[in-house]
Symmetry: none
């Protein structure tokens, strides 16, 4: 007699716990979140937590990884496959992607890495390798392609893909800290893109 519901939950458990932990960490930070609180949110007993994650730190790492795992490659693929001209791509899909980052789980991950990162260098490395590095490389490739196509001129910008990241980063931190004081992040990003385009267009 199979017990599918029970089975299914067993399968889903790690994800459920990880999600609950993400929510709790997002609210109170890592240090201030008790394991019990995560357990309660996940609708699971404290003891069970330790069946899936040996320590609170393991859980933390799993949370970071689970967020990273998701749509990292989204942008990258699009960059490679797009048929738009470079300017249209920047103003379209790329801008859209950038705008949704500050409100996305990535912002929470950044916050967690900033607080706890120094204690978990391997996690930071992991994040760098899998997200930052690949994202920046994709941007650089995109610009170089534009240059090769004659759409862009050769500038320092291809050495500093971080210029695309900068307003996104600022938007994230702003949301995190100064949620009360509104900032039109979308417009900020659009303006940065305007500036970059004005600067690099052939």
């Amino acid at each position: 007699m199979p017990e599918p519901r029970y089975q299914r939950r067993k399968q889903a458990r790690p994800q459920e716990i990880t999600d609950a932990a993400f929510a709790a960490f997002a609210e109170n930070g890592y240090a201030a979140t008790r394991v019990e609180e995560v357990a309660k949110r996940a609708g699971v007993s404290k003891g069970l937590m330790y069946l899936y994650f040996k320590t609170k730190e393991e859980l933390f790492k799993a949370v970071i990884r689970s967020v990273v795992m998701r749509r990292v490659d989204a942008l990258i693929e699009v960059v490679e496959d797009t048929e738009l001209c470079s300017e249209d791509f920047m103003r379209g899909p790329m801008a859209d992607f950038m705008k949704q980052v500050p409100g996305s789980p990535v912002a929470v991950v950044i916050r967690l890495l900033i607080s706890e990162g120094p204690r978990h260098p391997e996690l930071v490395d992991y994040y760098y390798e899998n997200v930052v590095s690949r994202g920046l490389a994709a941007i650089t490739r995109f610009i170089d392609r534009g240059v090769k196509r004659g759409e862009f001129r050769k500038t320092d910008v291809s050495d500093f893909p971080q210029l695309f990241l900068a307003p996104v980063m600022l938007g994230m931190i702003w949301k995190l800290l100064f949620a009360k004081r509104s900032l039109n992040t979308d417009k900020l990003i659009d303006t940065q893109i305007d500036m970059i385009l004005a600067y690099i267009k052939a």
Copy 2:
């Protein structure tokens, strides 16, 4: 001659403790720093800490304030008093100021605010009012003055002084998280300034 282990220095103590706490928080973050550790760094007994700061949280607030108190007004004054033309000012004093921020104590404050800010909204407010808000206002005034003088054209940039902040912020976070992977923050900032100038010059 061993240091006398009982030394009266009422005047200097708060600053000494605050400095020690800053260093400790910078290294390990607020939550992971034990009061005793700060005491040891300050060359002071655990008990004395509580003579000057009623709780660990009070100490935390004092640390933030002591850092903020310092050279906030530096830039602002210079902006108002300079005799340089706007472009030269941006490429000179303003760029210099921006470049030293990521390696300054401000970066540590940002890190602390990001981790602990949500629990201390009044501290975040304090920081916003005294640093962020005034800095942004100074930038906006600077741009508007350039427009009035006919050096700049009217653009969105005066609504988004954060565009100046963005590479600084990114540089700070980068240093905090990815110290291992070098990033030429100075050049990043110069490039952003180049872009801004290209964009707004009349």
Copy 3:
């Protein structure tokens, strides 16, 4: 066979802890008793204490209440139900009751209330309502009934049921303070009863 040092006894724990605390408080008073000492007596870890009682003060209150809860109503019921004539009742069941008080847990409660009461007015109120007030009311009712039956004459004594309490109180305090110097509390109480009877008999 050594006792397993990890034992689950959820049901019994509160009572066990409360009893251990009572004993410890009885010996050393509230302030001088460490939570850890109570834990040790209860055969329990320090941490478990806080699972059942949120603070040391909560534990204190629980101790007081647990003692009060017990045989408060004993006397009261007997007073109402007795078929003895008033004099026989006073010399018999009532005297017996009075005599056992100074050596009973109530004495400890009194001591604790005297030391800590001013800081816990609600506990004192609780004790007054549940013990003192009801006890005195029962005595008053008993005397008035004697008057109605023609066994007693009308005197001030029905306004001062405390006259019954007085030697009990003195006996308690004496035991607490001057245990070394013997005092025949029983005889003291008998004599007070003699006096009262001589005074109020019709």
Copy 4:
């Protein structure tokens, strides 16, 4: 050049400190009173306290003794010297004396002894020898004298001088704990005296 005011204070200091400590202990009990609080009340620095009293416990003992020292012998002398008949003495000076005890510093001493006594047996002994024992002896002598004079008959009362103390004690405790619920202590004492007299008069 003499400095009398200064000198006088030096003389008075112990008493001043002792008085301040008495007041503080009366309010908060021994354990909950900080040495610094006493110093503040005495208008003296914390350090100076330790010039006069080596430890907090010494101070405590001094407080007890200073209260006891005062009018202990008042009653005793009066008992010996009175020219009143025994009944008039009991209804007059003795009743007056008894009535003022519950509101007097003695009540505070009792409270302190009850809380801290078990830790300071020698203090309790001291109090017993100097106050309780002598007071009781005086009462016994008084009764025996009445018997010898033919005013009283021989009863158990001369073995239980505590019968005089009992309502005083109860009054004291009542004031300490149930200050809110009024009790006419004076009348209670008068009634006890009435009863005793009715019981022992020849």
